[in-house]
């Protein structure tokens, strides 16, 4: 068996991260990570007529870019595993159509990048594929329209609200054979996925859709602690523990929960939602969120820093608040989830 502990997998032949791509909107481009992204689209409609089409266009750009960056042909990629926030995965099904690569659509809310990486890594290591493209996206306006209010509607957001990232991140994972055929990367700049921890739905009873950080923090804590116990490690095993979009308040809650469990991650933890915007210049309240948040931070910033040798071992933990407009109106709670992916520089 390749499983490890209660809910993890350790890979004997770790899949390679062959390449990555990040495409973002104007506001993300103006944020602190702006210089790391592969492409910035200043037009919020990305040349299309609707927000949904714009998001698909972002995703298509990210997919084409990741193929080029990974130096991989389309026919060398066996599957796409992807999803987004829109109902019925609208952005993804239109976004990947032209690539004509066999496709799996998944929904993990803002944790989708984690879910897609997890499944893609298992497919490659299990020899069901030589190459898999994992992709996700979100668009501020499309998310507002579906989950909250029309953009032009005048209201005030609470301090705990987050700002949906406009962007798409894509990664191509591949096996040893596909890696050795690839000449793009300098030697020593290889990154692999050595293990994964699959999250459970964790629900501590938060109902406020404007406080997703609080809904997701217990899930993030559960996945991080499960990862530590399954692999027999502690926070020191990682240069960085990166959560998806807990925001400032959610991160604080994560510290409180883990510390109450006797584990401190404060020193080497960052949150993509906190990292992606500058609260002093950009009015985002508690930080960034959305599938794109962790996806573009991973593909633009983190993987680059790993390839440069700044970080050797990262635990990447995208977090998802699984709310729907229906569950919200039916006054149900917001279930949270988080996936743990161990990325190592080889």
């Amino acid at each position: 068996m390749k499983t490890k502990g209660k809910q993890s997998v350790a890979f004997a032949k770790p899949p390679y991260v062959l390449g990555e791509a990040s495409v973002v909107g104007k506001m993300e481009g103006e944020g602190p990570l702006g210089k790391y992204f592969h492409e910035i689209c200043p037009d919020p409609f990305v040349g299309k007529k609707t927000w949904e089409e714009a998001e698909s266009a972002l995703m298509e750009k990210a997919c084409n870019l990741v193929l080029a960056n990974a130096g991989v042909r389309r026919d060398e990629v066996n599957y796409i595993v992807g999803g987004d926030l829109l109902a019925q995965l609208m952005a993804t099904s239109f976004g990947v159509e032209r690539l004509q690569i066999p496709f799996f659509g998944i929904y993990g809310a803002c944790s989708t990048m984690g879910e897609s990486l997890t499944l893609s890594a298992m497919m490659v290591e299990g020899e069901y594929a030589q190459g898999v493209l994992a992709v996700t996206s979100s668009h501020f306006a499309g998310a507002e329209k579906q989950f909250r209010f029309p953009l032009a509607y005048g209201n005030q957001r609470p301090a705990s609200a987050t700002w949906t990232v406009t962007g798409s991140g894509a990664v191509i994972l591949g096996n040893e054979a596909l890696m050795s055929g690839q000449k793009q990367l300098a030697p020593g700049a290889k990154v692999v996925i050595t293990g994964i921890t699959v999250g459970r739905i964790t629900d501590y009873g938060i109902k406020d859709s404007m406080h997703m950080g609080a809904a997701m923090a217990p899930a993030a804590a559960a996945t991080i602690l499960a990862n530590f116990s399954d692999f027999g490690v502690d926070a020191k095993a990682y240069d960085l523990i990166v959560t998806g979009d807990l925001g400032t308040i959610g991160s604080q809650i994560l510290y409180d929960i883990t510390e109450a469990r006797g584990v401190s991650i404060r020193k080497n933890h960052i949150d993509c939602g906190v990292k992606i915007y500058d609260p002093a210049r950009q009015d985002v309240h508690a930080g960034g969120s959305g599938c794109g948040c962790s996806a573009v931070t991973l593909t633009g910033y983190l993987l680059r820093k790993m390839r440069e040798g700044v970080y050797k071992r990262i635990l990447f933990v995208p977090t998802g608040a699984m709310l729907s407009p229906v569950s919200f109106h039916e006054e149900l709670t917001i279930p949270g989830i988080a996936y743990g992916i161990i990325l190592e520089r080889k």
Partner: protein, 165 residues
């Protein structure tokens, strides 16, 4: 004031219901809120400003020798048209971010709540987009407003019939 809940108490809760209750309380303690006083002051200023503008229009129209009732119709028309225009330009949302209830409560806020879905859902067509979704925010106000008026009207009529009024 309720007792402070620590995260330890949340994690050590006896059952799920208690844990959810305690966690919500802990989150409430942990989450900062904006100053109510500042928000109220801004709402007062902007809300008052909108009403002042309305009164200015009213006086102006009356000075054109319109009677009070006709002048107030024209005032409403001007305020609604201005709010719809500002909504289309995306400025009303910016005003509301500053003003809060000050821009929601006056009739301009109602106009904004009708115009903004019309702009947003235009892409879904004249019937299923604008037609079906234009009242997604204002709909409840209209429905229950009309219902309440009917109900009170009935009470008023009954009171008259039995000689109370």
């Amino acid at each position: 004031m309720k007792e402070q809940v620590t995260i330890k108490q949340v994690l050590e809760a006896a059952d799920e219901t208690e844990r959810k209750e305690k966690y919500n309380q802990y989150v409430k303690q942990t989450t900062p809120t904006f100053s109510r006083l500042a928000n109220t002051a801004r709402a007062f200023l902007v809300g008052g400003g909108i009403c002042l503008l309305g009164e200015g229009c009213n006086q102006l129209f009356q000075s054109f020798s319109l009677d009070e009732k006709t002048a107030s119709y024209w005032t409403t028309l001007v305020l609604v048209a201005a709010a719809v225009l500002l909504t289309g330009l995306g400025w009303y949302a910016k005003l509301a971010k500053f003003a809060g209830a000050g821009s929601v409560v006056p009739i301009t806020g109602f106009a904004n709540s009708v115009a903004s879905p019309a702009v947003e859902f235009r892409a879904e067509g004249q019937v299923f987009g604008i037609g079906c979704k234009i009242f997604t925010i204002a709909g409840p106000v209209i429905l229950y407003g009309v219902f309440a008026s009917c109900f009170l009207g009935l009470l008023y009529w009954l009171a008259g019939v039995i000689g109370l009024l």
